[in-house]
Structure formats: structure tokens, C-alpha cells
């Protein structure tokens, strides 16, 4: 029998706690749709979350789940995946979890090339605690802890992962819901560390302070900001500042940590193979 996304949701925990028009629900739908299309049994999938609005996602899924501490989802997931490489491990992190408090684990998971998938919901602020700025909040944006605009530039999550060595790096938005589902599928299938960054609206805080409180307007804002990665690369710096790249940014076949560890410790690795990064 064909599986439905509903087979990956825990009905007793729904409806979810997210605000009307929050992108988190759209990403959870895409994630569960992807699992259904890949026909992965819930028992073989471990959903690992951190803390924040998106960090609540584990409570709504019927897969195996690990709801850890803030920022550490990738470190827990590293242990889970390495201890049992047969499991499909997917971490769901917000911008706070992934690249702010957990930034160290993020770059090292990418560098190590742990064979798991990170779905990073980037809504440019800390929704759960009331809309404070994070390490992805764009320069000058207003948040509850930057009432006059934030004085720090934000990280580009995808370029950070690329620089750290991730095997698969893609970005999309919740506006592009079909592409989102397909990229998650591709990321799960791709060996090594794979990242899907999803730009997502927090209409309640970031939207209200910087764009518009209406979910529909936030969705259209995402559409206007997103440009295909090729086009983005040709843009001027000023244009780039107003946009973000969507699509597949990195696709490479560097062997994952566990495979390499097994081969090196079994004495089988050939010196000339290098590390897959040209080194």
C-alpha cells in the first residue's frame, strides 16, 4: 500500500502549536511527503530536533525521534548515525540551532561528512522566545533585541556548509513547496552530509517587524527574493544583498565519515584517493 504523509504524523499530537501562516507546517508537510514517497518505514527514520518553534516538530511525527538540547541536534545525530549507519537520520533545526548556538557542530558535521540530512528552517529570527535576532538575521533588520536594526550581518547558511565541505547543499523556500519536497528527497538519498535550507516566514515576528504580518504577503516576499543560483552568481553585490540563491548549490560525491573510517581502519584506503575535496 502506498504510504501517505499522514503515516509519518502523530495524530494525537495535532493540531500543532505553530502560528497561522507559519512556514514550519509547510516544511513538516514536505518532510513527511518526502518520507512517504521514499517509502521509508517510520521505524527506520530518526527525526532529530533542537529547540525553538521548529524544534517542536519531533512531537508531531511518528518516526523514531530525538528531541535534544538547543543547538546540539547534529552532535546527537552524529552519534546516532555512526552507531547505526542503517538508520535514516534527519535533523530538523532552526537558524538558531544550526548556525548560531550550534554553529560549531554544523561546520564540523559538514566537514566530517556525516551521512545524514539537515533541514534547516531559516526564518531569520528566534520565534519561540519572542522574535530576537539570530546569526542569520539580515543586517539592519528589526527584531525585539535590535529595535533600531541589527548591527551584525547574517550568515549565508548554504555557503557556510559549502565552505565546510558538505556533499549536498540546496536552498529553497516554503513558497516553492513542490521543489522543497523534491529537494528533501534528493538530500535524503544523497550520501554524506546534505543540507536543505528552507527560507520560511515567521509572520508573527520577523514578518511583522520587517516585511508584513500577512502570511500571503510573506509568501510573495519569498517568491520575489528567491533567484536561481546561476542567476544569483551573476548579480551585482547590491542585487545579491536584496536576494538569495535557490536551487542546488553543491552536489558532490565525497565519501562519508563512516565509510572512510571503516576503510582507513581496515587499512584499505589508498593514499592517492585524497579527501574528495581535491586535497
Amino acid at each position: 500500500m502506498a504510504l501517505s504523509y499522514k503515516d509519518y504524523l502523530e495524530p494525537s499530537q495535532l493540531p500543532h502549536m505553530w502560528c497561522p501562516g507559519c512556514g514550519d507546517g509547510i516544511i513538516l508537510r514536505a518532510y513527511t511527503e518526502a518520507l512517504a514517497e521514499l517509502e521509508l518505514a517510520p521505524k527506520d527514520v530518526v527525526t532529530v530536533t533542537g529547540i525553538g518553534c521548529w524544534g517542536k516538530a519531533d512531537d508531531y511525527v511518528s518516526t523514531q525521534a530525538f528531541h535534544g538540547t538547543h543547538g546540539r541536534a547534529l552532535a546527537f545525530a552524529t552519534g546516532i548515525k555512526t552507531a547505526n549507519p542503517d538508520l535514516t537520520v534527519v535533523t530538523l533545526m532552526g537558524d538558531g540551532d544550526a548556525v548560531t548556538i550550534g554553529g560549531n557542530h554544523f561546520i564540523h558535521a559538514a566537514r566530517r561528512n556525516i551521512n545524514l540530512t539537515a533541514i534547516v528552517t531559516n526564518n531569520y529570527n528566534y520565534g519561540m522566545t519572542g522574535g530576537q535576532y539570530s546569526a542569520t538575521t539580515p543586517l539592519k533588520s528589526k527584531t525585539t533585541t535590535s529595535p533600531n536594526g541589527v548591527a551584525e550581518p547574517g550568515f549565508d547558511v548554504c555557503f557556510l556548509a559549502e565552505a565546510a565541505g558538505a556533499n549536498f547543499v540546496a536552498r529553497t523556500t516554503v513558497y516553492h513547496a513542490v521543489a522543497l519536497k523534491n529537494l528533501i528527497k534528493e538530500a535524503i538519498l544523497h550520501p554524506g552530509f546534505s543540507l536543505v535550507e528552507v527560507i520560511s516566514p515567521c509572520p508573527t515576528y520577523f514578518g511583522r517587524f520587517n516585511v508584513h504580518p500577512s502570511p500571503v504577503n510573506m509568501m510573495n516576499w519569498l517568491k520575489d527574493k528567491a533567484v536561481p543560483v546561476q542567476k544569483y552568481r551573476e548579480m551585482s553585490a547590491e542585487e545579491q544583498y536584496e536576494h538569495f540563491a535557490v536551487g542546488k548549490i553543491v552536489v558532490k560525491e565525497r565519501p562519508d565519515f563512516y565509510t572512510t573510517y571503516q576503510r582507513i581502519n581496515g587499512g584499505q584506503v589508498a593514499a592517492e584517493e585524497g579527501d574528495g575535496n581535491g586535497r
Binding site: 532529530v48 546540539r72 546527537f76 552519534g79
Partner: protein
């Protein structure tokens, strides 16, 4: 790997690794730190030989997270660290207690606070082991006083951790960790190995945190037919978040109960010297070795002194310490800190027994003569 058997000569830190492997550990996640690094190095060497994995994480926060994840996925997992790294592990130590994930932390204590004297011994983490992570929680901590005990208590740490589904801390110290002496490693079939219990209920409707009378949940690793939901948030028996006041009360109360009611199984002490003495020393770890020598020296000088050595530090040996307080005319607690265990002894003193502390915090070990001097002062 060649498993050493019988009488061996090695370092305390080395003995910890052999015990971990004998316990069945297959995963090490850690960050090197003096004076514990030998544990990382030997683990890196041996784990691949037993189909295990050594993972050097980016920091100690990631280290403890990785071993918690590996344990949830079914591998016995451990880490080793010292003061600064132990501090970084505190948040996730609480997660392991709360989510009931068995892991073993070896803390080879060094002088602090902060970076302190990295290569020098101390016993300054006794209270951090107990209360370092936030919130009300139980914990188990064991304190080896010999290379033999580095082996025995590391093995026991895994067993207690698996049995009670709680992180267990081996509170070693720089002296014990780096000391070389002989020990006896039993034949493999002489070892008592405890593995976490698995559920025997139907998969449908399984609740990982539902417990029977023993208050200990039966949780399988990820990947079986059972769905396991592990959470750092307040959770009910299903493992899913649940924030009702009675859920929070029920969970934390059970976590305490499962340790409290098994103190007889967990708490170990050793009495040394005459059964009845005017003065009882209460000591643990490296200092307890010195205290033993002081007891011998005192007896030779006609002084009536014995020793209560704490092998289990947490949960605290309330009954045994109270027995000491009831019998002795005075109690002396020598330790390499400004008085951590002595406060627990004071808490238990319903007898009006005079309690004395002897502290040393300069990164040097207390000497028998120093303890002797204090004994004479107390017994004067």
C-alpha cells in the same frame, strides 16, 4: 586486539579503557584534555579493532551529545574529560538523566577553577558531579582509589548505567589516572556484564517511558519495530512532550525514586583499620590512599584512628557516614578541595560529633604527615 588477562602493570587511565571495552563499549565521543587524554588515545587505537568507533568531536558539548546519540542507537558509549570539559558537558548530562540514556563519563579531576593547573590533581568536581547540571536530578558517581579500581569501577559504571538508565560518572583524579601499579584483569567469562533491559510488550501501543514497579523503563535502541521518542523536554510515558504539572512531578519523582530505592545496590564503601576508633577519617580517591597510610602510622603511635573510604560518592553513603558519626568521638575529612564531601558529612551529623576538614588546593596531594599532624591536633 589482545585482551590483557591476569596480573598486569598499567596506568589508571589505561585500565579505564580496558574495562570499557570489556563492558562492551563500542563508541567513544570525546575531546582530548589533560590529564585524561590517554583514555582518548587508547580508545582510538582499540575501538576500530572491536568494530567500534572513536569519534573526536569538536568540543565537549558535542562529545557528550554524540555518546548520548550513540547510546540511544544501541551502542554502549563513553567519554573522558577533565574539569573544563566536564563543565561544558553539564547541560547534556542533565539531558541524559532526564531522557534516561545510559552513558559513562570519566572525569579525571584536575586543579581548577578554570584552566587552573592542568597537570595537577584535585577533587574539586565532587559537587559539580552532583549539581553541575540544572534542575533536580539524581546522579551516580564512583571514585576509584587504585588502578585496580579504575578497571573495576569503570566496568561497574557501565553496569549501573545500563541497569538504571542513568549517566554514571567515574570521578577519577590526576594521581589515580596517571599512577602505574599492578592490577588483576579477570578472565572474560568471570566478568559480570549488565545490559539494559528490552521491552517485552506488544509493539502497538508501546510507551517507552512506561515503567513497572522497578521504575526503570525498558527502551530498545532505534531501529527495532518499537518507536522510541526521546526528549529533553518534559515528557509523559509516550516520550512525547507533555507540560502538565503532574507530568513534570511524576517524571522527576520517578527518576529520583529509581536511584533512591536502590542505594543498597549502588552505594559501596570500605572500612579500614579498627572497627571502633576515637577518630574516623572519611576520604575518597587519591586522598584515601594517603589516609590509609595515616591510619597505619597513627596506630603505630598508639592513636585510635580508622577510615571510611567512599567508593560511591553519589548517591551519598548516608547510612554508612551516619554509622561513623554515631561511633566515633570525632570525624576528619581530608580532601583536595576547600570542603565538599565534608558538607555532606555535616548534613548528616545528628549526633553532635565534632567534624574537622583538612583541605589542600595547591595542586599537590595531601601527604600522610599532613594528615597525621591534623589527627594529632584533633585527638589532643
Amino acid at each position: 586486539m589482545n585482551r590483557p588477562v591476569g596480573v598486569q602493570f598499567m596506568q589508571g587511565n589505561e585500565a579505564c579503557v580496558y574495562a570499557a571495552l570489556d563492558a562492551g563499549a563500542k563508541f567513544y565521543g570525546g575531546y582530548p584534555i589533560t590529564p585524561s587524554s590517554e583514555i582518548a588515545e587508547l580508545s582510538a587505537k582499540f575501538l576500530p579493532q572491536v568494530d567500534g568507533v572513536y569519534l573526536q568531536m569538536e568540543d565537549e558539548i558535542g562529545s557528550i551529545a554524540a555518546i548520548i546519540g550513540a547510546s540511544a542507537a544501541g551502542k554502549k558509549a563513553y567519554t573522558a574529560t577533565s574539569g573544563p570539559g566536564f563543565s561544558l558537558m553539564q547541560e547534556n548530562l542533565g539531558m541524559a538523566v532526564y531522557a534516561e540514556v545510559p552513558v559513562v563519563l570519566i572525569n579525571v579531576m584536575r586543579n581548577g577553577p578554570s584552566t587552573g593547573l592542568a597537570t595537577r590533581p584535585a577533587q574539586g568536581d565532587v559537587m559539580q558531579a552532583r549539581w553541575g547540571t540544572h534542575g533536580d536530578h539524581p546522579i551516580i558517581a564512583l571514585s576509584p582509589a587504585s588502578v585496580q579500581e579504575c578497571y573495576d569501577l569503570t566496568l561497574r559504571a557501565f553496569n549501573l548505567s545500563e541497569k538504571y538508565r542513568i549517566p554514571v560518572i567515574l570521578l577519577s583524579d590526576e594521581v589515580i589516572g596517571h599512577m602505574r601499579e599492578s592490577l588483576t584483569i579477570p578472565e572474560r567469562d568471570q566478568l559480570e556484564i549488565v545490559n539494559r533491559k528490552l521491552p517485552d510488550v506488544p509493539v502497538a501501543g508501546y510507551k517507552p517511558y512506561q515503567t513497572g514497579e522497578d521504575d526503570i523503563p525498558a527502551i530498545p535502541p532505534y531501529g527495532t519495530e518499537y518507536i522510541v521518542h526521546v526528549s529533553s523536554s518534559c515528557h509523559d510515558e509516550s516520550g512525547y512532550s507533555h507540560s502538565a504539572p503532574q507530568t513534570a512531578d511524576k517524571l522527576v519523582s520517578r527518576l529520583h525514586r529509581k536511584i533512591e530505592k536502590n542505594k543498597q545496590d549502588i552505594v559501596q564503601v570500605e572500612w579500614f583499620g579498627p572497627e571502633q576508633a576515637d577518630l574516623t577519617l572519611i576520604a575518597y580517591g587519591a586522598v584515601s590512599r594517603v589516609a590509609k597510610q595515616a591510619v597505619v602510622n597513627a596506630q603505630a603511635q598508639g592513636l585510635s584512628v580508622n577510615l571510611l573510604r567512599l567508593i560511591t560518592i553519589w548517591p551519598f553513603a548516608d547510612d554508612e557516614v551516619q554509622a561513623a558519626l554515631a561511633k566515633a568521638k570525632a570525624v576528619l575529612v581530608p580532601e583536595l578541595n576547600l570542603g565538599q564531601v565534608v558538607r555532606e558529612v555535616e548534613r548528616l551529623n545528628t549526633f553532635g560529633t565534632p567534624i574537622h576538614a583538612l583541605s589542600r588546593i595547591d595542586g599537590e596531594i595531601l601527604l600522610p604527615a599532613q594528615i597525621m599532624e591534623k589527627i594529632k591536633e584533633v585527638l589532643k
